[in-house]
Symmetry: C2
Subunit: 376 residues, 2 copies
């Protein structure tokens, strides 16, 4: 099988052959999301009109093939507003007025605030339905845009009482044409969900990373994979996150206030670890974390626990490739893979996750083939 | 090159041929660390005596080849105490008394508390020096033990004023014989270091994960890689962590109290995001996290930022192996690799980290070979 076949298979799995969208789609905002939607739709043969407040961004996205420039008399059936959260409602309102026959959606990472602002401004929300693709790296601009960005990703459709199911059909067509999976939630459910699985974790990672600023170099030299994982997303863009956190403030506050209460319990125990109940408070905090992390859905959505086998590999792509080839030969499916580097050493540790029933056979076969197992 | 050669090279890089340790090494506590030290030393031909309060654990570790049972008249030159933190000082004191000519060390993840307890008990600390190998998955028992567990890992030697450099030499020999890298720090520096890069991140991950306990299933369905990374270590063992946190309480408290103050600033801003200064407070929190995470040393110890290229791969080890083989053919070195799964889809996204200068060429070459790039 060649890599080209894989692309075809993926497209085959995610893209039922006949395209669903009819008519012209107008995309406002030619950043990463807007340009990626344009590229994906163009590949399906949809007529895509792009618009952007920046003429340079617009020309760039058109050069990349994400759509065409607007023309006098364009009558889009669907308008997708892909602008920063703080201007989303204003642009949606303008589009609803300019195109009185179009369905208008947006892709901002908060859903209650834009809907409320539109309702308060008296906009015709019988033609507006918010949405949120769970994709994109929150960075980029049109240069980073990819037609495949949404394939296999959840895409939240945030319906509300003011719009009929039938009127919103074009949004579901868009999502399916892009290979994504529509997920229906109310705006409130969406914003509460992203508060707990995205916005609060971002704040927590940033707060922990901030503690590393003034740590001595020697302390940082002791850093292992744990702190790296906890703080990885702390490198996110402050300008974007200010808007997201500001727009979902009350829900994020609710999650973080509960976390602060738990943190105060831990601080109390740490201040007097010899007091009765202190160790129990610490144990309960760690135990509550055990219970919480176990609820995260695993690969393919199912919640499963895998067994990790750690294999020592030389620090070259060829060695890792050989390991994966042999795992394939052994006939064990790889559920996840992560690399750890040994500071100062020219080799790494590959942590291979497999279903528990296969771990013992995998270890035995790898050892027989000469690999060094550094843990299982 | 076969995998066997890799093992040889690794051993060659980490193990200078002549072994440094002389005489008998006595290991007290045959859990993961104790048994791994025993296996590593036995491979070097060192005479290893094992002891454990549990006769079953002791017999098991001996069966695995980690050492021999104690004999009347054993006179170890070095005793390594590998027991839980809360009994470390008592066992070290007993060993110092029982073997008046031996150097005694321990491997507990805190270093101030055991030294202080020994000094207060009037033990002969001119023969005690604490240490801490930055290895092990904090789980296991002798069944998980591996001779290679310490290869390439930092191993902190926590010297103090009461012991001479010369008296401590056998500990450095042990560390080098096991293929690890000795790092000298005071006990205070060590405990402050692990508080900020290990113990506080553990608490933060657990507190965030605890917030997932009561979240609706629909919210958890929106979870992406970010929250998974932030909460990964939240699955750690509460019993062990109670001991670690209790023994390093004041230093962990200091880090978490500063974090709590920052969290209060964020909560204040979220409670009134429209107030002057609120958005600035949020931006500064995220910005401080940017600065902190950038200080974590990268692979091989250097602090470098890599560029990520995201490639779509079919969900089989063979496809990932093919990708890595081709990256090797292209001649680009892989700095890191992580897999992301698309919920509900039979394929994944491989995020490949490379030095920024090579990213453009890698993308061009992979596209030419038929791979689908989902982001860069």
């Amino acid at each position: 099988m060649t890599p080209g076949d894989v692309g075809g298979e993926v497209a085959g799995a995610g893209h039922p052959a006949p395209r669903r969208l009819d008519g012209t789609v107008r995309i406002v905002g030619a950043g990463l999301l807007g340009a990626s939607i344009g590229l994906g739709l163009r590949r399906q043969g949809v007529d895509v009109v792009l618009d952007d407040v920046s003429p340079a961004s617009l020309r760039l996205a058109i050069d990349y093939g994400a759509g065409r420039a607007p023309l006098e008399g364009d009558t889009p059936t669907l308008v997708v507003v892909c602008v920063p959260p703080d201007v989303t409602a204003a642009i949606v309102a303008r589009e609803l007025e300019t195109f009185p026959d179009a369905l208008v959606t947006d892709v901002a990472s908060v859903k209650v605030a834009p809907l409320r602002a539109l309702q308060e401004a008296g906009a015709d929300v019988s033609r507006y339905i918010g949405s949120h693709p769970m994709a994109g790296r929150e960075r980029g601009g049109p240069i980073s845009a990819r037609a495949d960005l949404f394939i296999g990703r959840p895409w939240v459709v945030a319906g509300h009482d003011g719009i009929s199911y039938r009127a919103a059909a074009a949004l579901e067509d868009l999502i399916l044409d892009l290979g994504a999976t529509p997920i229906e939630m109310t705006p409130e459910e969406h914003d509460a969900g992203v508060a707990v699985v995205s916005h609060a974790p971002q704040v927590v990672a940033s707060l922990m990373a901030a503690r590393l600023r003034d740590a001595p170099d020697a302390s940082l030299g002791l850093a292992g994979q744990g702190v790296r994982d906890v703080t990885r997303i702390a490198s996110s863009d402050p300008a974007l996150w200010v808007q997201i956190l500001g727009a979902n403030a009350s829900r994020v506050e609710e999650v973080l206030r509960a976390l602060r209460d738990d943190l105060d319990d831990v601080l109390g125990a740490l201040a007097a670890p010899e007091h009765p109940g202190a160790l129990r408070a610490l144990a309960e905090s760690i135990g509550a974390g055990n219970a919480g992390v176990a609820r995260l859905p695993g690969k393919h959505g199912q919640s499963t626990t895998f067994t990790q086998v750690v294999v020592m590999v030389d620090d070259t792509p060829g060695q890792l490739a050989l390991l994966l080839t042999e795992i394939g030969d052994i006939g064990v499916n790889l559920e996840d893979l992560r690399l750890e580097h040994s500071p100062g050493a020219q080799f790494g540790l590959a942590e291979v996750s497999v279903v528990p029933e296969h771990a013992e056979r995998l270890v035995a076969e790898l050892v027989r083939r000469g690999w060094t197992i550094a843990g299982s």
